[in-house]
């Protein structure tokens, strides 16, 4: 498969009469975007705001972050199986409004949405303080069943990304990055001596607000499945999650999966990158055994010499993480795990809820309970008090002067377990 990412580097975003890119500036026609989203009769109201890096803006509660793109060559514009008809993804050319993100906020169904601060201390903790954010506040019509409410908001975000992404269709990209990996037979012939490396990406699959989707299929309903890395880099995987904000994999992070991109850099040089295995994190014991056995079996059958395994969330998926590790290591496959920790406010608690002695190589992306102090924002997009019920917040965590304390739990992408951010833990 060969996929080209044509990056159109966006330097600024402004509101205007026409959604277009000129001289690196993206103009957003907010009215047209709102009208587009309201074509869904379950969407009652939409507000559109902009938030740029450095502006004293707090965005809360954030549901998802999505990169605006358009497919210019090859099939499957948008998010096939979700917002557009099904298509085989991973080939062709995509134009990306690079540096721009759609950030969806809105009335909360669950408790696990997040915060983005665009400036100061808070900005250090989230990768999405560095993007030019188009903040879309979605209010669905009253009386929706919670599951429909959630789907409505999720779809609206994806459709907003499609709508904005279309502005890049006829713009010449500033840089084109090519992602090409052939069949197993071809790559093995080319690199017979390079170690074969797979990537196991675990996806939360635990019901409303807690599911990842692959081509529109809820990962809860799948056996672990093999993807070409290009498929994920081409909108095949989306977030349906409102798990703790710190380590949920937003759609943007699937589109730009850091492990896939960094393994790609080594492909053909030090490794033969043989594929991505998406593994659901199920809640039942039988489910865990089935998926962990199956994942290890796929790694064995692919002839993997080594795998990187990334978790999504924490708590019971810690078991899946170490179970997959154990099974792979016992088959002679070397593993590196990526996880975050729940070490408590003081960092003195046991960091994981399960362990395996085979887990000798682990990347820690931070303690989700690390408490940060964020100064008062000049402007809040959304509802500041949402922090009281979010995972990582608590009643009264906003002081009178508007400053706020919260755990990293509440900060989007702060402890990304696909290694999208740069937090780690040192033992003191």
């Amino acid at each position: 498969m060969k996929l080209e990412h044509g990056h159109i580097y966006i330097k600024d975003i402004v509101l205007g009469d026409k959604t277009q890119v000129e001289g690196g500036v993206l103009t957003v026609d907010a009215q047209a975007l709102i009208a587009h989203l309201k074509e869904d009769n379950k969407v009652k109201n939409v507000k559109v705001d902009l938030a740029r890096p450095g502006e004293e803006i707090r965005i809360i509660p954030v549901k998802d972050v999505i990169e605006p793109r358009v497919k210019v060559i090859g099939e499957g514009n948008g998010f096939p199986g979700v917002t557009s008809k099904i298509a085989q993804m991973g080939e062709g050319k995509v134009h990306i409004l690079s540096g721009v993100a759609i950030v969806t906020i809105g009335d909360i169904v669950g408790f696990q949405e997040g915060v983005i601060d665009m400036w100061g201390e808070g900005a250090k903790w989230t990768p999405f303080s560095k993007t030019l954010n188009i903040v879309v506040d979605i209010e669905p019509v009253e009386g929706l069943d919670p599951h429909v409410h959630e789907r409505t908001v999720r779809f609206a975000g994806l459709r907003a990304a499609e709508f904005i992404g279309f502005a890049g269709k006829d713009v010449e990209p500033d840089e084109v990055l090519v992602y090409e990996i052939g069949t197993q037979v071809e790559e093995t012939a080319k690199y017979p001596d390079l170690p074969r490396v797979a990537y196991v990406e675990m996806l939360i699959s635990q019901g409303l607000l807690h599911d990842g989707y692959i081509y529109g299929v809820n990962s809860q309903q799948i056996l672990p499945t093999l993807l070409h890395p290009n498929e994920e880099l081409d909108n095949a995987v989306i977030s349906g999650n409102c798990v703790a904000a710190c380590d949920k994999i937003t759609t943007y992070q699937h589109q730009n999966n850091a492990v896939i991109l960094d393994l790609y850099k080594e492909h053909g040089k030090t490794i033969n990158f043989i594929g991505v295995i998406l593994t659901p994190e199920l809640t039942t014991l039988e489910g865990k055994f089935r998926t962990c056995d199956y994942t290890a079996k796929l790694c064995v059958n692919l002839g993997a010499d080594a795998v990187i395994i990334s978790e999504e969330g924490y708590g019971n998926p810690d078991s899946d993480l170490v179970m997959i590790c154990k099974r792979c290591e016992q088959k002679g496959i070397k593993t590196v795990l990526i996880t975050d920790e729940c070490s408590g406010w003081d960092g003195m608690s046991q960091p994981l809820t399960d362990m395996a002695e085979e887990a000798v190589a682990v990347i820690s992306t931070g303690n989700v309970s690390h408490v940060v102090e964020l100064t008062a924002a000049k402007k809040v997009l959304g509802v500041a008090e949402a922090i009281y019920t979010l995972a990582g917040g608590w009643e009264g965590c906003i002081a009178e002067d508007g400053s706020m304390k919260c755990e990293l739990n509440a900060v989007i992408g702060s402890t990304s377990e696909i290694g999208y951010h740069n937090c780690t833990v040192e033992l003191y």
Partner: protein
Amino acid sequence: MKIVYYVNQFFGQIGGEEKAGTPPQYVDKAVGPAGGFQTLIKDEAQVVGTIICGDNYFNEHKEVALKEILAMVKDSGADLFVAGPAFNAGRYGMACAQVSAAVQKELEIPALTGMYEENPGLEEARSEAYVIKTGDSAGTMRKALPLMAALGLKLLKKVAPGLPSEDGYFAQGRRVTVFSDKRGSVRAVEMLLKRLAEEPFVTELPMPVFDNVPPAQAIADLSKATIALVTSGGIVPLGNPDRIQSASAQKWGKYDISGKKALKGDFYTIHGGYDPVYANAYADRVAPLDVLYELKEEGIIGDVYPYFYTTTGTGTSVASSVAFGKEIGKELKEAGVSGVLLTST
């Protein structure tokens, strides 16, 4: 700034084993290693006194000795407490460790000691006080004291200590979130390449060690047993009156359910880790008071304990969970509850 020092009878120059029964005494000058420590920190602070205590006295009268020593430290108005180093001396190590930990914990005065890695005192002190790594005998005093002095000055000046490897102390077990110059995925790929090349690498998260809880005895006669309902599923009265967190709980709640046949209608979930829709519709799906009540009606169990205990399990640290469990368990034990139906999500 003032420093108070602690040594045993030997380093306190009172005598050897024959003086090991000496009770604690306060000398208002630097004695033994305290003198060396004073020389190293020059005039940045003053060792105002040395507490000398026999090793046997401390270990045989621990409670009394600790009380006496803590009073001496408090009276001295010290800004820093230093003990030892104890090297691999077991009784001296236990004394240095326990006094340092108590000074730090109870008086909130920074406490520093030093010992060899196999000293049994290490585990008593390391999570509270700073313990400098030393050799196994007093022959390594010349290496140990400069490290202790350097870290002592940092503590006096309220400068955050560096990494254990930088400042020469045993890790306290505090996992601190910091920024790396590389994102996590890059670090993962680099670690993988090292593993493949069979080069040395350092894991960022050594596997934790788990404790084991022995199961309680079986209940001989359920029909006479009072059963309590406890959950980590975040089921709380509507409105969440105690504001229990939706993740990373810092507290638990206790609610009167006497006379209730089910939680449905009056309770819902604030747990952030699962689909709340079905639990909100019928809270007994998570904490089944309804079924427990039926069992009582049928005479299968004796009674349902009239209070329901709850917290949120998701993201809650193991240390907090252990503390909650001990607190709740104590109440239930004292109330004569025979068994607990403990549900998780």
